[in-house]
Amino acid sequence: MLTENDKIKHLYNRAGFGLNLFDLKNKTDWQKACNLLFKSNSNYKKLEAITLTEVQVAQDKMKNLDKEDKKDLKQLLRENVFELNNLWLNEMINSEAQLQEKMALFWHGHFACRSINPYFDQQYLDIIRKNALGNFGTLLNEVSKTPAMLQFLNNQQNKKDHPNENFAREVMELFTLGRGNYTEQDVKEAARAFTGFGFNKLGEFKFRVQQHDFGNKIFMQKTGNFSGEDILKIILDKKECAYFITKKLYKFFVNDTVNDAVVQSLSDKFYQSNYDIKTLMKEIFASDWFYNEKNVSVKIKSPIELMVGMFRTINTTFVNTDSNLFIQRTLGQILLNPPNVAGWTGNRSWIDSSSLLFRMRLPQVIYYDKDIDISPKEITPEMGTQQMKMANDFVKKLASKKLNATADWTNVLQLFSSSKNIAIDIPNTLLAKKADAVALKAIQINADNSSLQNQIKSIVIETMSLPDYQLC
């Protein structure tokens, strides 16, 4: 059985991005810590990097791309691609609403989507954050009406006379039911029902009556003149949908190896609660099995979880926030830029020889200012070629340099200065479970013992460089 403190640590590793060192001292009552995660977030703020007017001005400029002078474009590039990403990353690091941001990251991988229009990205992000712990049906309906998603899945091209099935297919395959729970005929009929789901330049959902197919549809053995909303309702009525979502949540928050009996029982309750996400998550985090040792330190951190966790321990700022993006690109997870609608594969797909080596070197690159010595692949995203070129040039330049971070070690030094045995206390604090003998020995041998400060810093950095630190 885990101790009270270990339970809190495990809870925050999964329901959030890890305890920050301040919490570590102050959160000693598991029940209180758990309740705190679910306290409604009255401070909720939409993240805003750009206004609608700015986007429209930028779009006009884009039309004359050749004439654009570089400075303006650079400005645009930052606003478009990086700023929202950075704003969200900061929330993950600093927000008290840890569960909300962690859930939003889950929904971002679930309703995976990206848009070249930063205003659309912003709307979409607001919806998955705002509804992160709300009602799944509401979330599904709202995401299905975001310009970002409709555009990403080509529903603007889904018209009465020329149906485009992309949106309808992914709604069932990836968002709600999973393969095997619908037929090709269901996809066709649902696509007809979603005709007319569109948006305007202001980023507003528009139902285009002329393009909608008002004929009868036969969907999941039901017949009627179904609208897109009707289709979503019929899907939500199916228990398979609750099971599909619950299983995915279980894999993300508990364990990639599924305990089917547990998932089945959770799924039934989720369905009975009419898809109340908060109720489901409470059930998970309050259960005994969640704290079973076989569920502790078995998840491989995604690049975002790894970064955010480090920065929650050591208060870190980059001279140039592009460094954040560099790490995301090199490790293969860029916020607001998932690889495709299926989201990130997760688990062991994060780890190969080069990504593991870079993960292990990352703390030294950041905190000892070592050379980066690696460059991620060029990207060819669907943004203007000029922008893409600049993004790639930036990365090439950075590859031969340093990340230029400023670290505030105050909290770390304060916490461990009085510690009796820092070479054991630090690893045991920062790792998801107690470090084994070989790792402890390697840490001890390589520690910088020139002063207490250096000793603490070096042990923290070494701990963060361990393969074990990749787990939570």
Partner: protein, 397 residues
């Protein structure tokens, strides 16, 4: 060049310990499967196929591209209708020497015009409506490296690993430079940790999996670096990253590293505007390097061992756009190189510009047929389990 002279000029004489094996391999006339090497060159960004292999007698081509078409008197003629971009003298020479095979109109049903998505489709060998999480060469590695502890059979010359090389159980290795990777793994701390004895169940235990990956990386880096010292190419390669990468590959092959598949990328070919110079530069890099590479392997006696393939995630639209460039399209050509090609020259019909799908070329060869042919006939593996389906073989090898 006589062998003795070759050995002296290549600096091979200094690697006395390794010579016997190396020479034995060279004298062995019959190729065993383990000696066969595939090199995949990814042209990232969507290379414009119609300005690579130009239908220089086709009015439809010139009508569609008033600004950027390549004129008839400029192309390097392959036959009475097709010619290469003038930047591709290297390919032209290889064509004349019977070491090039050109397959036109390669693609897949329901093509996707997004870079990411279409690249995923090519790299994972999926259909356009399915999402696979492993790459075709990664799954090859799964077959090949079922129980091995050094995944060096599949190697990418880059700092990060592409999805194409990620299998279910095994993942390829990526590195730009054997020496640099080796240097990284020599870091005291990393090296000590890699010695952590793995006894547990890495199939199910992620901690064991991480330590196993680390140990494999460190031992693979040492193996590749040590072996690569056997042979240093005396050939001068073009002085750009792609040239360097191909030189590294030539040296690894000749040194006898046990790698069967090399993967390398060149880009970006995403030429939405002012296409001509940008594309010509890249095609020049590609063409001159491949020619030097093939000739280098001839010198080292390894030319029968290699098959080289280029691909891009899509071709571009038939009509040029308003900015002197081209937008995302569909079907495209694949080039194959080797000394053992069964069919040399132009494999199939030229693109049909009078039968388009909404302004885009229609494919006539599914790229999965190309993969299936290579996996079966060249790498001699069970291609059906790797591709998940039976795809008919082509006849280029």
């Amino acid at each position: 060049m006589k062998r003795r002279q070759f050995i002296q000029t290549s600096g091979l004489a200094t690697a006395a310990m390794m010579i016997p094996n190396f020479l034995k391999a060279q004298e062995n006339k019959v190729l065993s499967d383990s000696d066969k090497v595939l090199i995949v060159i990814q042209l990232t960004g969507g290379n414009d196929g119609l300005n690579t292999v130009v239908p220089y007698e086709n009015d439809l081509y010139y009508n569609a591209r008033p600004k950027i078409a390549i004129q008839k008197n400029e192309v390097l003629k392959l036959n009475s209708e097709l010619g290469l971009n003038p930047a591709m003298q290297g390919f032209k020479n290889l064509f004349d020497e019977g070491r090039l095979c050109l397959i036109n109109n390669v693609g897949y049903p329901e093509p996707d015009r997004s870079h990411f998505r279409s690249m995923d489709i090519w790299q994972t060998a999926s259909n356009s409506n399915e999402y696979k999480t492993t790459g075709w060469l990664g799954r090859y590695l799964d077959e090949k490296c079922n129980t091995c502890n050094q995944p060096t059979q599949v190697l990418e010359i880059d700092d990060t690993l592409s999805l194409a090389l990620k299998g279910k159980n095994a993942k390829g290795l990526s590195m730009k430079d054997p020496k640099r990777l080796y240097g990284t793994t020599l870091d005291t701390y990393i090296n000590q940790l890699s010695k952590q004895h793995v006894v547990g169940d890495h199939e199910h235990d992620n901690a064991e999996y991480l330590y196993k990956t680390l140990a494999e990386t460190v031992s693979s880096a040492a193996y590749i670096y040590q072996t690569s010292k056997v042979y240093k190419s005396a050939t001068t390669y073009p002085n750009h990253q792609f040239g360097k990468s191909m030189k590294t590959i030539a040296e690894l092959i000749t040194s006898g590293v046990n790698t069967n598949v090399y993967y390398v990328s060149l880009g970006s070919f995403d030429t939405h505007f002012n296409q001509q110079k940008r594309q010509a530069d890249l095609l020049q890099q590609l063409s001159e390097t491949v020619k030097v590479f093939m000739d280098d392997l001839k010198v080292s006696g390894k030319q029968d061992n290699v098959l080289l393939m280029t691909f891009s995630e899509f071709g571009r639209r038939v009509s040029e756009n308003a900015s002197g460039g081209t937008d995302h399209g569909t079907a495209n050509q694949i080039f194959l190189f080797g000394n053992k090609l069964k069919q040399k020259g132009i494999y199939n019909e030229a693109p049909n510009l009078s039968d388009l799908d909404d302004g885009d070329l229609k494919f006539s060869v599914d790229f999965k047929n190309v993969y299936s042919t290579i996996l079966k006939k060249w790498l001699n593996t069970d291609e059906q389990s790797i591709l998940g389906n039976k795809y008919q073989y082509l006849n280029f090898i």
